[in-house]
Amino acid sequence: MDSAAIDAVVDDQWSLLGAAGAWLTGEERIELIRIARNDATHVDVGLPVRTAATAVAHHSATITADAVDDVESRGVQREQYVEIVGVVSRVVAIDTFERGLGRGPRNIPAPRPGEPSRSVVAAARRRAGWVPTVGAIGPPTALTAVPAEASAQESLHAVLYLSYPEMADLHAQRGLTRAQMELVASRVSYLNHCLF
């Protein structure tokens, strides 16, 4: 898969960041891009949302269960927090990819009109993790309380790295051998102080 194929998926995902999600408006989601980039504030998303987004973008390894409880106690529903995690983590992924290719950051997408659906997934429950999930919590299910976020994350994961089914293939090659890809992944995790 070449960069043009990756770009096609990233183009779609980037554009959708400007559309209303399940819990945030398009303008609020765009503000999360600015927070992830440490850019100047344009929209007042409220301190709890800003606090959560800043933590996810800039010091996620320090987030604790108490911190997530605190954000919730200040009015950020768990599902809304899940959307914040999804949007911010994708922005960081895409910005990293662009920088790796020697390109500048993408322009902020245009906000689209519309209100959040606020739809709740009845099957999502708190289990071992800090957010509700459909089934046991793990990397593939962590965002399943907000299906659009889980879907976007899975699509981006598949194009940047491997799809979840492809991960079982230890001989997979995409420009790098599987072991070379894992070396990159491991070093990124180490630098992020993440045990994953």
């Binding site: 933590a55 899940v82 983590s89 790295y161 420009g175 072991a179 070396l183 180490y190």
Partner: protein, 101 residues
């Protein structure tokens, strides 16, 4: 996954290289990949030079894939840390081997 994939393909890998840049990773283009990741995430080092060095030993597709995989794990690290995904026993054991955790 690193240890398993290297074992499956018969490649050599020194896991300590992940946490100690003085250790040679042994993997083909391993040094260049690690230097590229360090430059990419630090925002300070010379990313252009690291990219050129990786291209020299592994070709331009390697740079595209290294940037993509790095981006993916920037996402996944944040996702698991922010949602409280439990770390399994096997990962804890590996982290212990590497002096982490």
């Amino acid at each position: 996954m690193l240890r398993a994939s290297a074992h499956a393909t018969g490649e050599s890998i020194a896991l300590r290289a992940i946490t100690d840049r003085a250790v040679a990773p042994l993997l083909t283009a391993g040094d260049e990949l690690l230097a590229f990741v360090d430059a990419l995430l630090s925002h300070h080092d010379d990313l252009g030079a690291a990219s050129a060095a990786l291209t020299e030993v592994a070709g331009p597709d390697a740079v595209v894939r290294a940037a993509a995989v790095a981006g993916n794990f920037q996402m996944m690290n944040r996702l698991v840390d922010a949602t409280g995904v439990p770390i399994g026993a096997s990962l804890r054991a590996i982290a212990g081997d590497l002096g982490l955790g």
